[in-house]
Point group: none
Chain length 121, copies 2
């Protein structure tokens, strides 16, 4: 199992992750664990997950993403998921999956603005 295969970048007080392959099985768990440990270690206040490279997000991956946001939230870190492609958004809504409780933004820039706003509150 390749651990830490999804690079986690630190930008200011935020972490930025660009997901470029399917988050399935062991990869999903390693992804969550890596992220949470990095949040604890680096003291990040915000987490931005870019999924613009994903052409398809099934309900399992959507749940992994939403769960990751909820876990980070319990640790005190806001999560924004950015770059969801139109066809992904359409499919998720048709499946009845709206990722309740997770913040979203159009792209990385907008996501960072959302996180900065939360920081000031």
């Amino acid at each position: 199992m390749t651990r830490g295969s999804i690079p986690i970048l630190r930008v200011g007080s935020n972490l930025i992750v660009s997901v470029q392959r399917d988050l399935h099985d062991a990869i999903a768990e390693a992804f969550q664990e890596d992220l949470l440990v990095t949040i604890e270690k680096d003291g990040a206040t915000g987490l931005l997950i870019d999924i613009s490279a994903l052409d398809m997000v099934d309900s399992y991956v959507a749940r992994v993403l939403a769960d990751t946001g909820r876990m980070a939230k319990l640790m005190g870190t806001e999560t924004v998921i950015v770059g969801m492609r139109p066809e992904v958004a359409a499919t998720l809504v048709r499946m009845g999956y709206t990722m309740a409780g997770v913040r979203t933004a159009l792209n990385v820039d907008e996501g960072l603005i959302v996180l900065a706003r939360r920081g000031r509150k």
Copy 2:
């Protein structure tokens, strides 16, 4: 029963509690009662509960913590739970427990910032 066994520190207008053992049974009740009485006595505006020493938080303990925050809120005191470890966050979310309505922060410093911001609003 050892009452008052979890020390409650006063820092400015906030109370800081560091939970270092499992909040079960009588200890949980004594913990909540001590906290609420201290809030009333000292007139604290914020309560910070540090759980970084807990390697495991089951659903009972999670509920005790969330309930304590809600009780303090009813008395007019904001609660922030800080220092949740990655594995604890992961387990709680997988159990479907997201501690709704409770504020969280990464560590004591961030928690005090959250409380200070609330104070200004």
